[in-house]
Amino acid sequence: MVTELGHFALILAFVVAIVQMVVPMIGAQRRWSGWMAVAEPAANIQFLMTAFAFGALMHAFITSDFSLRLVVENSHSAKPMIYKISGTWGNHEGSMLLWVLIVTLFGATAAWFGGNLPPTLRARVLSIQAAIAVAFFAFILFTSNPFIRLAVPPFDGQDLNPLLQDPGLAFHPPFLYLGYVGLSMAYSFAVAALIEGRVDAAWARWVRPWTLAAWIFLTIGIGLGSWWAYYELGWGGFWFWDPVENASFMPWLLAAALLHSAIVVEKRESLKSWTILLAILAFGFSLIGTFIVRSGLLTSVHAFANDPERGVFILIILAFFTGGALTLFAARANAMEAKGVFAMLSRESALVANNIMLAVGCFVVFVGTLWPMVAEMLFDRKLSVGPPFFELAFTPFMVVLGLILPVGALLPWKRARIKRTLYSLRYVFAAAVLLAGLVWTLQSGRSLLGPIGLFLGAWVVGGALVDLWIRAGRTPARLLRLPRADWGRGVAHAGLGVTIFAIAGLIAWEQEDIRVAQLGDSFDVGAFQLTLQKVEEGRGPNYFTTQGTVDLSQNGRLLAELHPEKRVYPVAQMPTTEAAIDYRFLRDVYVVIGDQQDNGGWVIRTYIKPFANWIWGGILMMGFGGFLSLTDRRFRVAAGARRQARAVAAE
C-alpha cells in the first residue's frame, strides 16, 4: 500500500513539476505576478511528493518487501539495517530517485530563501529547476521505475553488492549527488540570467553560495569514495582515474573554477559571460557524469545498470540542457557587458589563470576519459587510457596551479606590483625550498616526487598562512576578528596544499612487502616487526570470514593487534578483503591477508603508507574552508541590507 502511494506521489510530483516549469516562465515573460507566484508552492509540493516517494521506497527496503523487484535484486533479509537503508540508493532506480529528490530539494530551498530575489528572476530560476526535474521524473517513470511489483515474490533477496556494504560507501552517493545536483542551481541561475539579459554583482552573490555548497558536497563525496577505495579494495590505492571517478572529478574542477570566477563577477563585474559559460558547463559535466555511469558506455564497477535504452534517454536530456543553454548563451552572451578595468598584473588576472588551469585540466581529463571510445569509433583502434596518461598529462596543470596560488591570493585587485607580493612570500619560499632540499638529501636515491610534492605543499600552506597574516594587518589580535570568508579561503587553500603534499609523499615513500608467513612467523617491514599469531574462520550476519591476527610492534614495543579479514558473501557469491590498518598521524600500516598456500602458510601483504591520513585530512580542510566561507556574514546579512534599502526608497 505504501509502495503504491509512493508510486502515485512520484507521478503527482511529475505533473506538478510540469506546471512549475510552464506557468512561472510565462508569468515572468508577461509580468503576471499571479502566474509567477505559482512557482513557490509548486516547488514545495514537488519536494514533499518526491520525499514521500523516496520514503516509500526506503520503507520497502527496511521492511524487506520482496514483492518489489528492486528490493529482491538489491537486498536480503539478513543484511544489517544500515545497509538496508543505504540499499535504497545502492542501485540504479533508487539512485535516480535520490537524484531527482535532491533536484526538488534544491528547488524548494531556492523558494524558501529566495525572498529577496527579483520576482522575475526567481520565477525563471524555479521554472528551469523544474524543467530539470521534469526530465528526470520522466526518465525514472518511463525507463527505470523503482516501484514495479513482482507477480510471484521470492522468499528472499539477492543481496546488495558486498563491496557497497560499507559505511564509507553508504554515504558516498548522497554526497556526490548533492554536489552534482547542487550545480543545477548554478545552471538555473545562469540560464535565467541569460533570459533576463542581466548579470550583475547581486547575481554573482546569489550564485556563489549554491556553487560553494555544491563544491563542498562534491569534495566530501569524492573524499569518501577515495577513502573507501583505500581501505576496501585491498592494496591501498585511492585514485584510479576510472571513468566514473573522472565523471565526478570533472564537475569538481569546473565548480572550483566557477567559485573563483564568480568572485570576479561579484567584486569587479568582469568575466560575466565566462562565468555563465562555466555554470552551464559545470552542470553539463554533472549530466555527462550521470550519462557515463548510467549508460555503461565506459564499463566500471559503478555501472550497476548498463542499459542502452537508459543511456540514450540521458543522452537526450544532456543534449537538450547543455545544447539549449549553449545556444542561448551564443545568442545572449554579448549582452553581458563587463565594467571592471584592471591591469595585466592583478588579482583578476591571477583568477583568470586559475580558471585556465582548472578548465584545461578538466578538458584533459575529459579527452582522456572519452578517447578509447573516440579511437574505436573513428580510427578503429582498441586502446586504453589509464593512470599513467592522466598522471603525465593532468598533473602539470595542478603543479602550475599550486605554484601561482599563493602569489595570486596575495595580489591586490585592479593593479598589482609583483615584487611587493613576492617579497612578502620570501620566507615561505625559502622554507619550502629548504624542507625539500633537506628531504632530498635524506632520502638519497629515491624518486624526486617526494621533495617536489613537499615543496609545493609547503609553498601552498605557507602562502595561505601569510595570506591570513597580511589580512589581519600583521597583528595576531586581529586574526580572530577576520571575516569567515578570509578564514575559509585560508583553510581551503591550506587543505589543498596538505593534500598535494600527502599524495606526493605517499607515492614516493610507500613501502611494500609480500610474503608467505607460517603461523607464529615474525618478519620485518621497514621499521616495524609483524607476527602472524593465528588465523580463524568465523561468520558475520551475512558473510563467512577468514580472520588473521597480526601483532604489529616497533623496537620490541607492541603497537597494535591487527585483524585482516577476507570475507565471502554467499548470497551475492562474492569475496571481499577487509584490510587491517593501524592509523597513525605520520603513517598507516596496512595489512592484508591472502590465500593459504600448499605448505600451510598464508600470503601476507604489508604496506607502510606515509601521510595517508593527510590526503583525507586535506580534503576535509578544503570542505571545512568552504563551509566557513559559506557561513560568512556577508551571505547572511546581504538580504536584510537590501530589504532596508528598499524600505527607505519607498518612503
Binding site: 579494495l233 585491498g234 592494496w235 590505492g237 584510479f240 582515474w241 576510472d242 571513468p243 564499463t299 566500471s300 548498463n306 542499459d307 563587463a338 565594467k339 571592471g340 578595468v341 584592471f342 591591469a343 595585466m344 583578476e348 588576472s349 583568470v352 589563470a353 585556465i356 578548465a359 584545461v360 585540466g361 578538458f363 584533459v364 579527452v367 578517447w371 579511437a375 580510427f379 583502434r381 582498441k382 586502446l383 586504453s384 587510457v385 589509464g386 593512470p387 599513467p388 596518461f389 603525465l392 598529462a393 593532468f394 596543470f397 609480500i514 577476507k566 570475507r567 565471502v568 562474492m574 569475496p575 571481499t576 578483503t577 592484508v592 591477508i593 591472502g594 590465500d595 600470503v603 601483504r605
Partner: protein, 155 residues
C-alpha cells in the same frame, strides 16, 4: 534476452573475482630484486584485459597472473623493458597499454591539453590586454545627475 545478458555478465564478474586477495603472489616474485623492481614497474603500465580498468599489478584475475608471469619470463630471458613490452603488445594488441602510444591519431590525445592551454592562454591575454587598455569609465556625472545632486544637497 537482456535478462540473460545480465546473468552472464554477473557470472563473469563473479568468476573474475573468484580469487579474493589481490595481485602479485609470493611465488611470482623474482629472486633478483632489480629485475623484480623492473617487472613491477612495467606491470603497472599493462592492463588486465578482463578487468575494469585495473593494471595487471593490481588485478587478481588469472589472466593478469599469466601476463605477470609472461612478463617476468621475458625479463629473465634478457629482454630490455621496451622489448618485453613490445612482445606483449604484439600478442595482445595496444589495448594492454595503460599509457597510450603517441602513434597515429593518438597525437591528438596527447596534444589536446597543451593545445587547449595555448588557445586559452591566447584568448586570456587578448582579453586582459583589452581590459587594461580601456580607459577607466567616465565617473563624471551627467548634467541631469548633477542637477539632481545639487537639488538634494540644497535641500
Amino acid at each position: 534476452m537482456r535478462r540473460l545478458a545480465r546473468i552472464i555478465a554477473g557470472a563473469a564478474l563473479a568468476m573474475l573475482m573468484a580469487l579474493p586477495v589481490a595481485a602479485v603472489q609470493p611465488d611470482e616474485v623474482l629472486d633478483d630484486p632489480a629485475l623484480e623492481a623492473r617487472a613491477r614497474e612495467l606491470s603497472k603500465g599493462l592492463r588486465c584485459l578482463v578487468c575494469r580498468n585495473e593494471s595487471i599489478d593490481e588485478s587478481n584475475a588469472d589472466l593478469a597472473r599469466d601476463l605477470r608471469l609472461l612478463l617476468r619470463e621475458r625479463l629473465v630471458a634478457g629482454d630490455s623493458d621496451a622489448e618485453a613490452i613490445d612482445y606483449i603488445v604484439d600478442r595482445f594488441g595496444e589495448y594492454v597499454l595503460l599509457q597510450p602510444t603517441v602513434n597515429g591519431s593518438n597525437w591528438l590525445l596527447w596534444a589536446a591539453g597543451p593545445l587547449m592551454l595555448i588557445l586559452a592562454g591566447g584568448v586570456a591575454v587578448v582579453y586582459l590586454r583589452g581590459r587594461a587598455k580601456i580607459e577607466a569609465p567616465d565617473n563624471a556625472l551627467t548634467a541631469s545627475e548633477e542637477a539632481r545632486l545639487r537639488e538634494i544637497l540644497d535641500k
